[in-house]
């Protein structure tokens, strides 16, 4: 081996180690960048959740026990709360799908510009405070509200419909608030479907309806599932709208947790409910993932 070749050999080795340490330094930099966020989540989310969850394993006397959990399954009141929570969440999800899917489909058929303008009508409410929107619905739906008074003045009804302070009101209000969570992922997915796909199906002999069900619909499913998961899980823990539009007659899980603390100061029981809600949400995500495969969302 000549001297020049030997030099070249060590030169390549030297560079290799330099490049390696350079790479290590780079990944450390990225790790460093994430440290503030990791700490923030640890301190603001994980530690409180763990601390609050731990409360559920102590009874009123401050002894370790499963009393709080036992009561959730024994008490008819709590069972009722779970049933109502699921009923409302399912109803809201179903209505959101029935309203949102045709809306998204129609938007994808429009020219980009028109669709963008119409999307603003979906997004502006989305950016408005939940509290403001809920009070707005109260104004519209209450006994002598806009809807009842106009229906009565038109002579369509004789006495006001009971639209607020009950289940109907809660579902109407929640549907309105949840709809964007379904529309946004669904619309994005539908937009990304190549129009040639449907054309291909039609050219191969599918009727327009057949092409929709056999090609467009299956291709829109990842977005639909994402929307359903979002709406359902957000609904499970929803508080403001059912509290205001339900008028005390509708008790969802989040309201039960709140009243357990503010009225009965029973942190243990409230914490147990919270833990069950958290587990339910995680269970839903796991189930949805098992059945539909959330990873499909990222499949192109």
């Amino acid at each position: 081996m000549s001297v020049a070749e030997a030099n070249e050999g060590t030169g390549a080795l030297q560079n290799a180690s330099t490049l390696k340490s350079e790479k290590r330094r780079e990944s450390l930099t990225f790790l460093g960048l994430s440290i503030p966020a990791v700490f923030a989540i640890l301190i603001v989310v994980f530690l409180p959740v763990i601390w609050l969850s731990s409360l559920s394993f102590y009874n009123a006397a401050g002894e370790l026990s499963m009393e709080n959990y036992a009561r959730i399954f024994e008490s008819a009141l709590y069972r009722r709360t779970f049933v109502v929570t699921f009923q409302i969440s399912i109803a809201v999800t179903v209505i959101c799908v029935l309203l949102g899917y045709p809306l998204c489909y129609w938007l994808t058929k429009l020219p980009n510009k028109t669709a963008a303008i119409l999307m603003v009508f979906v997004l502006v409410p989305f950016w408005t405070s939940v509290l403001v929107r809920t009070y707005a619905w109260l104004v519209l739906l209450q006994r002598n509200g806009v809807i009842n008074s106009s229906l009565m003045s038109m002579g369509i009804i004789d006495e006001p419909l009971q639209l607020a302070h009950n289940l109907t009101g809660s579902i109407i209000g929640m549907t309105h608030i949840m709809l964007p969570f379904l529309v946004l992922p669904l619309y994005a997915t539908m937009r990304s479907i190549d129009t040639d796909m449907v054309r291909a199906a039609v050219s191969l002999g599918s009727s327009p309806r057949g092409a929709f069900w056999r090609v467009f619909f299956p291709m829109s499913l990842p977005g639909l599932f994402a929307g359903i998961v979002l709406v359902f899980i957000l609904s499970l823990g929803f508080f403001v709208t059912p509290a205001l539009l339900g008028g005390g007659r509708v008790q969802m899980l989040a309201q039960r947790i709140e009243s357990t603390i503010t009225v009965y100061s029973n942190w243990g029981a409230a914490s147990a409910l919270g833990v069950v809600l958290l587990l339910l949400a995680l269970l839903m995500i796991w189930l949805m993932n098992r059945v539909f495969g959330l990873d499909k969302l990222f499949m192109r």
């Binding site: 190549d194 040639d196 796909m197 054309r199 291909a200 199906a201 039609v202 050219s203 191969l204 002999g205 599918s206 009727s207 327009p208 057949g210 092409a211 056999r214 090609v215 299956p218 291709m219 499949m299 192109r300």
Partner: protein
Amino acid sequence: MSSATQSLPIDVSNLCKAYGAIKALDNVSLNIAAGEFLTLLGPSGSGKTTLLMALAGFVRPDGGSIRFGDREMIATPPHKRGLGMVFQSYALFPFLTVAENVAYPLKVRGVSKSDQKTRAERALDTVQLGGYGDRRITQLSGGQRQRVALARAMVFEPQIILMDEPLSALDKKLREHMQIELKALHQKLDATVVYVTHDQREALTMSDRIAVVNHGRIEQIETPERLYRQPHSFFVADFVGESVSLPVEVANDTAQLNGRVLKSILPIAQGSGGHRLVIRPELLEVTQGAVPETANDLSGHVHDVIYQGDSVLVIVQHDSAGEINVRVPANRAGQTGLPSKGERIGLALHPEDTIIVPEHAS
């Protein structure tokens, strides 16, 4: 494939389609013979895709007639036209396997499950993808996806197959390979093929006839060789193949370049906007010494010599008319006696290669 089906001729007449003020199809008439491989060639925005989409039924024309055989199709919805179609993006269904994709048109037509399977397998064999049936689309390379799209378009033995730039997403080598394969496949299938491309070389390679489309009109429709050697307009001459053009004066069927009569045995097409002499770089002959009396003399000085692998491009400064490109094979015969930069070079343009075209076709 079985020969149970018979390919159909396509008759397009007076087809019009306007998008606002832009005429995408300007009174297009076109006859395509049964079993022919016809290419619609043109730049983007020329209307070639609109014409194909009108044949497929995805674009509704403003007027005119489209006939497949003796059946008027202008108002028939696309799913009832019975066409096989290959899209630029392939448009394979990602949620189905390769075999399910190919069987799709059979499933829609209510073919039995076992028949679907055998026919899909046979179609996949035809495109040399036998045994790939159970794969996912995402597991295939670009060239393989292209073959699946082809298999899907022909599995139901359509009498007409439309292809919209099906090879444009492939790299050059694979594209050239697929061109030959597609041409061979067409000879095996009994189907009329209408093929859209903006690649003139692809069109020349594959087609029985080429229709050059420009501004929503068909400029010329001709076999590849005649189209290349006898273009009817400057647009066609310029779009198909390499060329340099020089303005010429035409009077009484005789063209003059700078006052010298051009010898040509090719007819001079009618048109407007003056005439041009079209010089294909490979048709010029480098002469040793004087240019023979029978040929047109385009001699000049060598301006540059560019080595391009398979050939050498010599840029010549003509004595009066400007720059002319000459292509010489990069073998020894082509290279012998090639003058170097600044030297004088003898260039002969033979009468059978002397193409004179009008600026605009009439």
